[in-house]
Subunit: 206 residues, 2 copies
């Protein structure tokens, strides 16, 4: 049975988003990265500012705001922190997207949210540090901060975000069906392999 | 640059050995699993009994023997425990095998021993528990012990063995270039993907 949903978790700078886009194009699937947040804004009644603040790079765990941002709004989330509201709205959006099928979803704990669906392929993209450093500088340019620190900081935020609502460890091998080191395998080849697996994957081989 | 060495770490029952054999056949590579131990016996001067006792499923961490088995032999390992002697001899054999190239090596921390070689592809095979349980029963039959416990026990031994001389965590995503869930992808397809990656892998993509 061809997998209808591909979730891609990825280390920062590994090319996971690029790989996901290529996979979506090749399979004729829809691609969701920031697009998830557009839907969250539309469906939750939360402002774009709030949704973006609590998206994947949320630093709320270190933020006073997290402690005090309990709302008494009129959107059905009374008494919840904004962080929880965004997470719940995001999980609902990801479940809706999955229900439509034929999609690639980047990050945001989608592997966890959709863990009970058998039509998903859960992918993790990692890469060696020097490969990631070169890519990040060529795409985003240099800043005052050391490149390795920028990368570790982004990964740490993804890890905290993931752990905060899944109670699982980001990058734990048990959560994925396929892990690829893009530095060794190559960005294009990673996309080819994922497409190949999607097309041929069995629902449950006994 | 085609990878000359494939190391395969694997969860018990995941089909990692079968996949490795198929990969070796398809690529025309030599296959090393228990064959590593034959070479260790031949080259170390240690007895087969000792070598097998301290192979991958060694239980020496819980064994009094581990504490007292310090030898004063004449094979250049004076004063070392048998466990250490076997590990060192095994690492030397694995390095020799790698030097010859064109090989598939199963388990025994080969990914760690060969971590600095750029011509290696490090693979981890995992699988869902029900898939592994069915395979183990069909291959090895039933015993008095619950099948899940047998599987967990074997994995635990591999984990302890790996940690004991690598100081790394078995199954940590950072140690591998490719991880495949054989239950979702299928045994044959896993072998195909590994061959494909070996043939096309880049030494270091920038």
């Amino acid at each position: 049975m061809q997998k209808k949903i591909v979730t891609i978790s990825r280390e920062f700078g590994s090319g996971g988003k690029t790989i996901g886009k290529t996979v979506a194009e090749k399979l004729g699937y829809k691609f969701y990265d920031a697009e998830v947040m557009d839907k969250v804004v539309k469906e939750s009644g939360l402002s774009r500012e709030i949704v973006e603040r609590y998206d994947e790079y949320a630093t709320y765990k270190n933020s006073l705001l997290y402690t005090i941002a309990i709302t008494a709004g009129s959107n059905g989330y009374n008494g919840m922190s904004f962080a929880s509201q965004v997470q719940i709205a995001q999980a609902n959006v990801i479940k809706e997207i999955a229900e439509e099928g034929n999609c690639v979803i980047i990050g945001r704990g989608a592997d966890y949210i959709l863990r009970d669906r058998e039509d998903c392929l859960h992918v993790f993209i990692r890469a060696d540090m020097d490969f990631r450093a070169n890519r990040v500088v060529s795409i985003y340019g240099e800043t005052d901060k050391k490149i390795e620190d920028r990368i570790k900081d982004k990964d740490a935020k993804r890890r905290v975000y993931y752990r905060s609502f899944t109670m699982r460890e980001w990058g734990d091998i048990a959560n994925y069906d396929l892990m690829l080191n893009s530095a060794q395998i190559g960005i294009d080849k990673c996309a080819d392999i994922i497409c190949d697996v999607v097309r041929s994957a069995k629902s449950k081989e006994k």
